[in-house]
């Protein structure tokens, strides 16, 4: 038996009240050895337990209370012999024939069951698991679109749409299971719900029962199932079909292909399906919806809180990769929460996943721009990805909150310099100097690099030498700073320094805004 931390209250009390099964007790004791938080809570619960017992004893009423009561009530008239109507030992008539009547009813129920099983019928499509609240159903009968509520019945021809952040698992009678990714539109057709159409999005299909014509219609072609497990993705006008077990046939009016296990094929309108190629990966969201879809909303909330706590703990320990992982799982449960995306952005920023971090920051900013918290990582990510106006806007917002923080002024200066506003940049660098940039090792490195670059642009050699002489040996800075280092060396004609700086830039940010320039310069330097 596994112990889940979000259920710890239940386990701790179960342990105290001796209500755990032996295996659960053993699992919990094993967990207790390594978890100081649970040990502390157990101790607290034990204290409360004994305090409650003692309170009951302390607050017990005095015996005189009962004597007073006796006195108030006075002498009670004794009963003359009263016969108690206790249960008779003789079995009543209806009980004597109970067994026979139950047996007759059981036989009748069995016959009815056999008849019922023999009748062919259409199994309804059911929503088995759901993560998120945005599952919309357009009724075939009324044409009305409404959000799905647990227990709603789905009819043949109804259209299901998953909005961003919502994923679902559908049970198609006893034919199989369909995992529906966010942003997917699917409708069920055919006699046994075994045919359905997908207009957009992604689904995974697992066929449990064979011998049924399981077919998927898409705008780019028809997928006939000869196998048991396959994935369909419709994105940017392309249909991708990957087969995970057995075989799948993909056909349209221009041709057809058979896709074997472990292969995938593409199709687009007006074109025959492509020859299959090797397929791999892509089922993370399926595991997530399987895991969290089982939980009710209350449990999902607890899981979310647990994940956020773990993410914050890992983040504060400096384990940013794990923190990102927990935030990402939390984003499955609450895609609408800006805090989750912001946490992902900061974690990605720390592990140099710059492009990913930018997407996550933007997602958070778009969800709630007012409460979007800014710090220098966020600003650096936008600078690294070449979004200077956004970086400047955010850092100026931070200046309003923390005007005495040198990091804000430094980043605004860098954003202004990148946009060619050198006077404004110089002003900001001055402010950074006044607010104490010199005292911060990492910011001071950036300051020296930027100032040297500005000096090299203005041709002030004395100033350039003064700043460069202060450069530390270990220049570990953001990628765009490496660009300025490279450009400064370029102006000075130092091939070695320039090459090394561009290499650093390409290693840190191969998709950055200066990557093209870096590649061109490196090619040129190789030939020199």
């Amino acid at each position: 038996m596994r112990f889940f931390h979000f259920q710890k209250d239940k386990w701790i009390l179960g342990y105290l009240w001796n209500q755990l099964t032996p295996s659960a007790r053993e699992a919990f004791e094993r967990h207790l050895e390594g978890c100081s938080a649970c040990r502390a809570q157990l101790e607290k619960e034990k204290n409360l337990e004994s305090l409650l017992h003692e309170t009951g004893e302390y607050m017990a009423p005095e015996k005189e209370g009962l004597d007073d009561l006796k006195a108030k009530i006075g002498p009670l008239p004794p009963y003359e012999y009263v016969e108690i109507k206790e249960k008779s030992s003789k079995t009543p008539l209806y009980r004597q024939f109970a067994f026979q009547s139950v047996a007759v009813m059981a036989v009748m129920a069995l016959v009815a069951l056999l008849i019922w099983m023999g009748i062919p019928r259409i199994e309804p499509v059911k929503v088995d698991k759901l993560v998120g609240k945005g599952l919309l159903i357009t009724s075939i009968n009324t044409g009305v679109t409404k959000p799905y509520n647990r227990g709603d019945r789905l009819y043949r021809g109804d259209i299901l749409r998953t909005q961003p952040g919502t994923r679902a698992v559908l049970k198609v009678g006893n034919l199989g299971t369909i995992w529906v990714q966010q942003g997917t539109q699917i409708a069920f057709l055919g006699q046994e719900n075994s045919e359905f159409s997908v207009d957009s999005g992604e689904i995974w299909v697992q066929v449990d029962r064979h011998g049924n014509p399981f077919r998927v219609h898409t705008p780019m072609g028809k997928v006939s199932v000869m196998g048991t497990e396959f994935r369909i993705l419709i994105k940017e006008g392309y249909l991708t079909v990957a087969c995970l077990k057995s075989k799948v046939k993909l056909e349209n009016e221009y041709g057809n292909v058979i896709i074997n296990q472990g292969w995938k094929s593409y199709a687009k309108p007006g074109m025959a399906p492509k020859d299959p190629v090797k397929a791999s990966g892509g089922n993370d969201w399926r595991n997530q919806v399987d895991y969290y879809g089982k939980q009710n909303p209350e449990q999902q909330k607890l899981s979310y809180l647990q994940l956020m706590k773990l993410a914050r703990e890992n983040y504060s320990k400096g384990d940013y990769a794990d923190a990102w992982k927990y935030y990402a799982w939390a984003s499955v449960l609450r895609p609408e929460s800006p805090r989750v995306w912001q946490g992902m952005g900061y974690s990605s920023g720390h592990i140099d996943q710059i492009q990913r971090a930018k997407k996550e920051f933007l997602a958070s900013y778009n969800l709630d721009s007012d409460s979007f918290g800014v710090d220098w990582i966020c600003g650096s990510v936008f600078l690294d990805t070449g979004d200077y106006s956004m970086a400047e806007m955010m850092m100026r917002r931070m200046i309003q909150e923390k005007p005495q923080y040198h990091g804000c002024w430094l980043l605004v200066g860098e954003a202004c310099m990148a946009q060619g506003q050198y006077d404004e940049a110089r002003n900001c660098y001055n402010k950074a100097w006044i607010t104490g940039v010199k005292d911060c090792e990492c910011c001071y490195k950036r300051y020296l690099i930027d100032m040297a670059y500005m000096a090299s642009l203005s041709g002030n050699k004395a100033e350039l030498n003064a700043y460069m002489s202060k450069w530390p040996k270990d220049l570990s800075v953001q990628s765009f700073n490496w660009c300025y280092v490279a450009r400064t060396y370029q102006r000075l004609g130092s091939i070695q320094g320039e090459r090394s700086a561009w290499y650093k830039y390409m290693k840190m940010n191969p998709q950055g805004p200066f990557a093209k320039e870096a590649r061109a310069r490196l090619d040129k330097l190789e030939n020199m």
């Binding site: 179960g14 009240w17 409360l48 003692e54 017990a60 009962l66 009963y79 009263v82």
Partner: protein, 202 residues
Amino acid sequence: MLSVITEITASEREAKRKWDGNQVRQVLQGDVKAFWELMESYYPVFYHIALGYLRQPELAEDTLQEGVMAIYQGLPGLKDPDHFGSWAYTVIRRKAIDASNRARKEKRLESQGDPTITRALRSFSGGNSIQSDPVKQAQYQQLWDAVNRLGAKYRDPIILHYFHGYTLEEIGQTLGLTANAVAMRLRRGREALRQEMEGKES
């Protein structure tokens, strides 16, 4: 001071039930003394339950008077004398609810806990080792007041389980719930108590 049952095993409980049954049978054969022996064993539970609803010792005592009379008069209709405990609890609870409704109409009952509960019970305290520690005493009184501020849904299981040693199954039988449901109520009740106690300490 009347003894409060705290640590009782299942077999002892079974024996107690049988004893209850025998006492009831004796009462119905004219033995009034047996009734008062029965009441002596149940008086602390009844008193705590009534006090939980009414919050004022004098009202609780009046209600107990009515309740005990109703129990005595209702004994001939009791189908299973071995289950006297849960039946009597129901009688007392109903009487307490009626009295509390009456008192509320007459505006005699304050919405918040009445300090007189603590005061009245404090006067009963004897001289054992737990009670001689003033810090402990303050803790007991604070906890007692917190228990009385809980709703009946959580208060009754806590009183029965912690103050009178009923098992979860017995409380379930008494309140008409499953043992799991009782465990859930106890858990939530404890959570509320813990929050209140920690809030006061901080």
